[in-house]
Amino acid sequence: MPCISSKLVYADHLGTCKARWGIGRMNYIVPPGLYACGAPDSGSPVVVTANYKMTYDAVRQALAGRNVWVLVLETFGINVWCAAGKGTFGTEELVRRVTSSELAKVVTHRRLVLPILGAPGVAAHEVTRRCGFTVSYATIHAVDLPKYLDNGMVTTPAMRALRFSWYDRLVLIPVEVVLELKSLAVISAVVLLACAAAGGLPVGMAAFVAYVGAALSGIVLGPLLLPWLPGKSFALKGAVVGLLWTCCFLLLTGGHWTPLATTAAFLILPSVSAYHTLNFTGCTTFTSRSGVRKEMRFGLPVMGISIVTGTLLLVLSRFIQG
């Protein structure tokens, strides 16, 4: 039986840091199966988790000093929440892993401890019907596992409460930036070249800075300032940071822009930010699919029309000047 260490070493922290930036995040996949944490016996609890590096690290660190079985499911390096949504952290895989690890021979009880955020993929009654083990949804955060175990394996309301702190949002941002790098590079190059061709290099550079600033405002500032930005709509929140960025940009560049170019900036830049902040809905655990759809049905046409109108104004301003 493989044993796991509940202590994170320097290499684990370095790996976390790299994974946050999207560097080789699939190189840390933990082989699925049953592991011993401490010196568990036939009566020890069985904690089920995913084989994403940070999930596994959080669980084993939380279980330090305990004697627990850890059943790692094959979620292909994806965290519990996303894997449950995709169904890989699911009934099928759980039953398969319970059977293949011969868990019924290892423990005498018939109880599996699952993370609450795994529930969208697992039908507890189906698991019981198919392999005889009952499912207890324990906590949302792995860090609460010791309290749960000490509480006679009973979940308190606090263990069921989601948190989404400033820091929780901050650590999600690097990978968002990395994922957007390709589209950012392509669009900013087009903006730079088109504006430089139309009005010379300084204009091209200004447009480049304006665009990249608007995109980063939407990707970085929108999520960080989330609770303090007005409204419930993510697109609106993004538009507000975009508006702030537009004001900053116009002030920083001396404000010597023509009225047409200024209007264009106010139309285009907040739309760019709004799109990127709207996309952060995918990283949260409180936005519903129907809500995002509603925002998109209304928001995407508004953003599109603003950007097209703004671009036409820029072209028009070129002709008026020219």
């Binding site: 949504g85 609450i116 969208p120 697992v122 948190r163 609770p227 419930k232 409180f286 936005t287 809500g291």
Partner: protein, 93 residues
């Protein structure tokens, strides 16, 4: 959760109370405390807090809950729309 709220009156969550046996699984799996058990039956106490993850519907042994569950990110929905219109194979995440 921490005062975070999303749009009101949008979610597709529905509970068929006569079918409910009051087992409490929905209360156990919901990360947003949408359900409570009152007089032996589940009640939608805070429907607008639902994020349509689908955990309650999947874990309801008598299928008393329905919800259109799925990904809630903009890129995911765009790629879904493109796939429905057969414009792209739509890979995301």
């Amino acid at each position: 959760m921490d005062g975070f709220r999303y749009l009101n009156n949008v979610v597709t969550l529905a509970l068929d109370q006569p079918t409910c046996t009051g087992c409490g699984r929905c209360v156990e799996v919901c990360p947003h405390q949408v359900f409570i058990i009152a007089r032996g039956k589940a009640v939608l106490a805070d429907r607008d807090a639902c994020m349509e993850c689908g955990a309650c519907a999947l874990n309801c042994p008598v299928k008393a809950i329905t919800v259109d569950a799925g990904v809630g990110c903009a890129i995911g929905i765009i790629s879904e729309w493109l796939r429905e219109r057969k414009l792209s194979k739509g890979r995301y995440c």
